[in-house]
Symmetry: C2
Subunit: 467 residues, 2 copies
Amino acid sequence: MITYNIADSGSDSIYEFLSKSIKKDIVQGILKAGEKLPSKRQLAKNLGVSVITVENAYGQLMAEGYIYSIPKKGFYVSDFKFPVQEKKAVFTREMVSLAGQAGSWLADFTSNQTETDLFPFTIWSKVIREVLNDSRVQLMTNSESGGIQALRESIACYLKEFRDMHVWPEQIIVGAGTEYLYSLLIQLLGREKIYAVENPGYRKLEKIYGSLGADCRWIAMDEAGICISDLEKQQADIVHITPSHQYPAGIIMPVSRRYEMLGWASREEGRYIIEDDYDSELRLSGRPVPTLQSIDMSECVIYMNTFTKTLCSTVRISYMILPQKLLTQFYEKLSFYSCTVSNFEQYTLAKFIKEGKFETHINRLRNYYRRKRDILLEALKKGERKEVISVSGEESGLHFLMKIHSNLPESVFLERVRSMGIKLVPLSFYYYGESGRPENVYVMNYSSVDITKADEIADKIYKCCIE
Amino acid sequence: MITYNIADSGSDSIYEFLSKSIKKDIVQGILKAGEKLPSKRQLAKNLGVSVITVENAYGQLMAEGYIYSIPKKGFYVSDFKFPVQEKKAVFTREMVSLAGQAGSWLADFTSNQTETDLFPFTIWSKVIREVLNDSRVQLMTNSESGGIQALRESIACYLKEFRDMHVWPEQIIVGAGTEYLYSLLIQLLGREKIYAVENPGYRKLEKIYGSLGADCRWIAMDEAGICISDLEKQQADIVHITPSHQYPAGIIMPVSRRYEMLGWASREEGRYIIEDDYDSELRLSGRPVPTLQSIDMSECVIYMNTFTKTLCSTVRISYMILPQKLLTQFYEKLSFYSCTVSNFEQYTLAKFIKEGKFETHINRLRNYYRRKRDILLEALKKGERKEVISVSGEESGLHFLMKIHSNLPESVFLERVRSMGIKLVPLSFYYYGESGRPENVYVMNYSSVDITKADEIADKIYKCCIE
């Protein structure tokens, strides 16, 4: 009869030790397929353990399929073939080029990361605490696919009060980042449609549309934004634009082009404009520009915004506003999905907005970034620096363009600043195709740069230009 | 010259009032395209406001494109066509069949919602508070695409200690729910592949694969799980299974079939098994069944698990473990995506696991659900009830099957229990096609049912059977 030394069981419980031991004997062929095991009673007596212990061990082995029982006869070893045991390839961390590894830059103008001190930790903690105390039942109640009602209402109120946008909470769909919302949109509008993005534009968009299997085309822009003629020529169905503050060119789309865009969309059934309003709250002078959504009478605009820039880049909450005519379709086709944002953060954000804390925070951000931008611009324009450096598109949002008046090839300049700890991305990077690429213009995302080092940064940039 | 009564400005600032007034005049055609506006100085004097105020108003109008300036000449009204203003369709809430609307059921056996008292609010609050105090810099540092390192390490340690699974943190990809992870997988493995799911199976899977544009086939099952022969016949490339506890049939896949599955996968390049281990932590008797992942030597298994069942259904954190041979591909193709789970929850969960609180919580859950299940089973088997009600698949997880021995058509029985406030879903609902559908078997997800009402619920079910 099989026997094991119970004293060897170590930290395992006896039944675990027993089931592992028998399993090992089966795997090693010591116990053979079809072989009968001792009865529970026999084995218990033999090992000096309780029948319950053997019963549990046999139960585990049965559950895993190593043995089977025939009623009134007993327990038998199952018949199965083990595959040849190949060695697993040895894993080395070098196999993985981890994304998002932070370098130690003097200034990284490519990052959208929020500075630690800018996040309202104290208030946020307080709101979380209140939510955890007061809303336990709601926190445990599954969110609707489009988000919890309280958050959608808070957003609708906020949009009405501060952006003059009139939408129903039901039109607002909350998701874990705009990237996720794009994937919902493609499922809603259809993978067979032709999607269009701005050239130059946010490169990630094309990657996302491509990765999700949609045909994505680049549309030429003029000084007012995307060209309607090119949109027609490329037979786009859905166009994705950033009219409040074009990324990266910085254009604010004038009202004339806005109406032309709406005209284009309403001319044919199934055309939609995705209005990506990613940083309009951070227009630093004057009021935010009215949205396309607010002047759209033909229900062609899908509005998108995110709390990534206004709260912090590591809280993943975005939302889109569907035109009413897409609502039924959305709820029929896609409401089977669970909402991707946890209730805890949805309720916290809802309360944060409702109690006016979000608006206060935005105002604080605007002042902070305005000051930061001004210091940086001043440093870039100081003394002889202004001879070789000029900036544009600095009125709005968290980036501007910097032009270097130099004959240096871009790659050389980039390498020079890089060696001084400054990470820049050229505007040309955002262009698809060769035509129209500007030379020596750089997109300056300044939100995460340490502004106390503005002068040092500007000096290094200057030195890289002139040498 | 244009003039406005500044006294009408109401709550708006004067510059806002002024820009809105001029905008209105342009829209209404009072100011015509090409018309010259008064100079800033003139208008300021005329209205009795500062030049700065007029400058801000003109600036806003320029930014929005209503007017333009010619240097040294002045400001002019832009030329653009307004579209015909259609009336927006009136929105009625009836247009939207909101998902997730909770009914007031005596017992809802279709819900996976977590009972409020079961969530460890006190401990979770404490951990959040500590994270918010101690990890501010980390909280603001963008997560890697696959999740923050701390969480991936915590999960890897947990899997090693409690599931005997040996994986590198880099193999673990964290996302906002398994539904989201499926969409990543399809992007990774290819939309042109043939995906296979279990029949009967979790219906949502087919919806998700379909919605994402992948070909999804249903594979027949026998008593050991999915049939390899049908998998071959249907030319599946990727098969999605629930071996630890098949949903909804409750089968635990025996080790023999597991090895057959691995054999199938390793026979051809590009075949993968998605092992959906959604509730294995909640095996109520004995140890969790070893995963396919842990015996996979050919790198064919993609393991998936979620905290939806073990923490609560409204925290959206799931993860998958990629085999090493898919890692490079994943990081090259998909690491441009931002992680969909916020840092706040990632760090909180990481700490919760690392400090052993998760394991404690799971043990509490197991005991709680075991007791709950036992009470419910006892109620269903009490007295004459056991003549018409039998159960199976009750050893593991948060659902079991209930068979009604009755000649009632399913639809009649369902309607009867429904009228008594009991929501059930028949096992037949999970079947694709007509063959093999069981009659009068119901899938009992008991996790959210109020167990103090077990006897009342069982009594009502019994009465519905016999009448």
